[in-house]
Structure formats: structure tokens, C-alpha cells
């Protein structure tokens, strides 16, 4: 039997170990009520598409960041259950009806807990999850439902289960968003700068996905000349 001539260390792809990456879960809760019709939803859709391109350009983030997308317009829809960023193919969102924001928050927390149970069952480490709540208005579901949502967020943040980032356009009710905000104060989008917002999100997730789990990561500034946000007016 002749052996292949020595050619240095060549390892076929299938001989590498294939370990699960630690995951960096993020839920997008997006207002698609009828007031978002026209320019706002168009900008949001364009922002989602550019987000996908940016996050998948970072190979590590593409494997580690996981995204789920809920919409609340007329009803709460799970548009995309958790997938890694490289498999995220954002749908084109359309607008409809009122703003069941409270239900969206409560359902998203449940979806997150289910995903974390899957991580644990498969020995996958994960970073602190992020929930982004994006709206141009205020919740239209019953006040007691809103209180439940606020309580669930407060409890979840106290137990370090996730961090909620409330984001509103200029027409959003920032007093309401202030009620649900815990560690992160609500921020107002500059105009309809969804593109800038998603670029910031992609950069932030890229930083986190390369960091040590449990460590503090300095996120890029959201406000300022190059940022996407201003303090609510």
C-alpha cells in the first residue's frame, strides 16, 4: 500500500469538530398598526433588509445572533420564530388595525423562555437576550393587560433574564413606554431613521457576539450626530 506523499497538515472539512456557538438572542417587537402605513412601514421594511445584510457580513455574528420577529397590528403575529442571523429572511411587513402591544410583550417573553429551554437542553451557552419594542403609538389592549406586561418586564429584568429596549417614533406615547422601561430608558427615533437604527443594532450585536459571556460590552452610541436616536421630546 502506498501512502499519499506528505503535503503538510491538510484537514478535510468534515474532520473538524462541530460545536454549537454560544447564542446571542434578540427579539424584535414591531408595531404594524394602521398608523404605521406608508412611509414608516416602508422605512422599517428597508431597515430590516439592510439589517440582514449587515449582520450576515460578520461571520461570527451571523452564526451567534438569533432573531425572532413579532408584529402587533390588529393582532400579534409571530412572523419569524428564533433563527440564527444567517437564516433570517425578513418578511415584507404590512399594516393593519390597532396596537396590541401588551400581548406582544407577554408572548415574546414566553417565546424567549422556550428558546432558552432549548439552549439548555442542548448545552448551548447564551448571552443576555435583548428585546426591542418599536412603536409609533401606544398600547390599545386593556390597561390590566399593560400592567401584566410591565410586571413581566420588571420581573424579567430583575432576574437578569433579558433587557428591554423601548424605541418610539416621534408620535409614540413616551409616558407609556416609560412605564414598561426598566434598565434602558425609552429612546426616540430620529425621524424615520430605521436604517440607522438597524445598522446600530447590527454593530452592537457583532460586538456582543465576540465578547465574553457575562462581561459588560460598550455599545456604540445610539444618540449624538451619528446616532439614530434622540431623548424623547
Amino acid at each position: 500500500m502506498t501512502q499519499a506523499p506528505y503535503q503538510g497538515f491538510n484537514v478535510p472539512e468534515q474532520e473538524f469538530a462541530d460545536n454549537p456557538d454560544p447564542r446571542c438572542p434578540c427579539i424584535l417587537l414591531v408595531d404594524t398598526s394602521s398608523s404605521m402605513a406608508g412611509e414608516p412601514i416602508d422605512q422599517l421594511n428597508a431597515g430590516l433588509q439592510s439589517y440582514r445584510q449587515q449582520i450576515t457580513a460578520n461571520l461570527l455574528a451571523a452564526r451567534r445572533v438569533e432573531i425572532a420577529l413579532f408584529t402587533f397590528g390588529g393582532s400579534v403575529q409571530l412572523e419569524q420564530q428564533f433563527v440564527t442571523a444567517r437564516a433570517f429572511n425578513p418578511p415584507t411587513l404590512s399594516t393593519n388595525g390597532n396596537t396590541p402591544m401588551s400581548e406582544a410583550v407577554i408572548r415574546s417573553i414566553k417565546h424567549l423562555e422556550d428558546r432558552k429551554a432549548e439552549y439548555r437542553a442542548n448545552g448551548i451557552a447564551f448571552y443576555r437576550p435583548w428585546i426591542f419594542l418599536i412603536t409609533d403609538g401606544e398600547p390599545t389592549d386593556p390597561p390590566e393587560q399593560w400592567k401584566l406586561a410591565c410586571d413581566a418586564v420588571r420581573l424579567g429584568e430583575e432576574q437578569k433574564k433579558f433587557v428591554l429596549f423601548p424605541v418610539g417614533t416621534s408620535t409614540a406615547n413616551f409616558a407609556k413606554l416609560g412605564e414598561i422601561a426598566q434598565s434602558v430608558k425609552p429612546l426616540q427615533l430620529k425621524g424615520l431613521a430605521f436604517g440607522e437604527f438597524f445598522r446600530w443594532l447590527s454593530n452592537s450585536q457583532s460586538r456582543v457576539s465576540q465578547s465574553q459571556i457575562g462581561s459588560q460590552v460598550q455599545l456604540p452610541p445610539a444618540t449624538g450626530n451619528d446616532g439614530w436616536a434622540v431623548a424623547p421630546t
Binding site: Y6, P12, N19, D21, L60, Q212, S215
Partner: protein
């Protein structure tokens, strides 16, 4: 004759290239012969990514540990004594880092580094380890990881500077003749180890060891190994600094 064929290399992580950070890994592997016996000595260190001068810390730690092992070569014949020498090598490494920090006015935490040390004798091996990274060795023809740091999958680790050594140092004696041994920093762990079963990924180690043994000229091995751990296939799977040592016992002239 009883000696070792060794391949050793390190390679800068792609994230370090992007952030303009130097390689913070360091490694030494050497065979010594005290007349009565031959020993393979290994020291590998991975400087903390968040510490500015940790590459210097890693080098100081390896140099001091290796020097300590060589100075005490005469005490390595019995496993219990060798275990003591390995433990002291970690103290020597920590002292060297502290002295360097004082001399150069560098905060100790800026020199933070992991450290892995092995003394391989003819019929036993002593492994010492602080932090992540891993050894792989064959015991009774089966490849295993003698000490599994649970931090390895989480990108969290201890450093020799971060707590009293008795709290973070793991020393272990394997009372067997080891024929093959590997040592890596955590940058290569996701490619070479199976995190679910906490064991070596056997196919890649069989490939690496057989390649190491097949090289017609062992003096090419270091360079060839560096080419491999700098390759696109590896960098797709890790962006950290990478160090790998492969060692195979050579037993010619046994007859």
C-alpha cells in the same frame, strides 16, 4: 533511544488583526535528557484578551515555568516529586509576572494569562493548568482530555494572576506511558474538542498526529503546522489567537 517528534506553532487571531492587537499566546516545548531519563516539557499560555500587555505576561509565564522545570530536572523521576515541581513552576511563573510588572510599572492585571504545563516521563505524566485551553493525550490507546475546564465553551477563564493559585490550579498525574500528546489554547478548542461529550474530536487528532509522524523532515513541522492553524478553514471557525503543540513519542532501536 526514546525521544519525541514535536510540532509547535501559534497564529494571530483574525479579531486581533482587525483590532491591531499582537498575538497574546505563547508556547514552549522541549525534550531534556538528564542522563537517566528523557522528559518532554511543555508550557503554553494565553494572555487575556482584555489586558493590554498580556502577551508579555504569557511569555514571562512560559519562560519562568520552563526554566523552573529544567532547573529541577533531577527531581522529576518520581511522580509525587514531579507533581511538586509542576506546582512550583506555576508559583515561579506568577512571581516572574509580578516582578516584570513591578520592574516595568505595569499593573498585574494587564499581564493576565492562563498557563498549561506538562512533564511527560517514560511511564507517567504530570499536567498542570490554570484557565482554559486543554491537553489531549492517549491513555491505553484512547485519546482523552485529562482536565476539562468547564469555562472553555463560555469564553470565560481564570488567569494565574486572578486568584490564589491553590484555588485555580489543577494538577493531575496520569500514571501511564503516554505515546501522543497535544496542547492547545482555547482559540482552537471549538475545532478540536467536542464540548457536548467533553472529549477530543478524534478524527482531527488522528489526522494531525498521522501527518506529524509522516513528515519526511521533522524540521518542516513547525512551519507546516503554522500554515494549517492560519488557514482559512481554521479562521472561519475561530477569530482568537491559536496555539497548538503536537508531540509523538519515538521509540527507535527498541530491539
Amino acid at each position: 533511544m526514546n525521544t519525541w517528534r514535536i510540532a509547535q506553532a501559534r497564529s494571530l487571531g483574525t479579531s486581533h488583526i482587525a483590532d491591531n492587537i499582537p498575538c497574546q499566546d505563547y508556547h514552549l516545548a522541549d525534550c531534556i535528557d538528564d542522563g537517566a531519563a528523557t522528559y518532554l516539557l511543555i508550557a503554553v499560555a494565553d494572555g487575556a484578551g482584555s489586558a493590554a500587555r498580556s502577551g508579555d505576561g504569557a511569555k514571562k509565564a512560559c519562560d519562568a515555568a520552563m526554566l523552573h522545570l529544567k532547573e529541577h530536572a533531577a527531581e522529576l523521576a518520581a511522580p509525587a516529586n514531579a507533581r511538586e515541581v509542576v506546582t512550583e513552576a506555576f508559583s515561579a511563573a506568577l512571581r516572574a509576572i509580578i516582578e516584570f510588572g513591578e520592574c516595568e510599572a505595569i499593573e498585574i492585571r494587564q499581564l493576565a494569562s492562563t498557563l498549561l504545563v506538562a512533564v511527560v516521563a517514560s511511564d507517567f505524566t504530570v499536567f498542570g493548568q490554570v484557565g482554559d485551553g486543554a491537553f489531549v493525550c492517549d491513555v491505553d490507546d484512547k485519546l482523552n482530555v485529562p482536565y476539562w475546564p468547564d469555562q472553555i465553551a463560555l469564553n470565560l477563564t481564570d488567569f494565574i494572576t486572578s486568584a490564589p493559585l491553590e484555588q485555580i490550579l489543577h494538577v493531575q498525574v496520569v500514571p501511564r506511558k503516554i505515546m501522543r500528546l497535544a496542547c492547545m489554547t482555547d482559540g482552537l478548542a471549538p475545532l478540536l474538542l467536542d464540548f457536548r461529550t467533553k472529549s477530543p474530536h478524534v478524527p482531527i487528532f488522528e489526522r494531525l498526529f498521522s501527518t506529524c509522524q509522516a513528515a519526511p523532515d521533522p524540521s518542516d513541522l513547525d512551519e507546516d503546522l503554522e500554515v494549517f492553524i492560519s488557514s482559512a478553514a481554521v479562521n472561519e471557525r475561530t477569530d482568537d489567537d491559536k496555539t497548538l503543540i503536537l508531540a509523538i513519542r519515538q521509540e527507535q532501536g527498541l530491539a
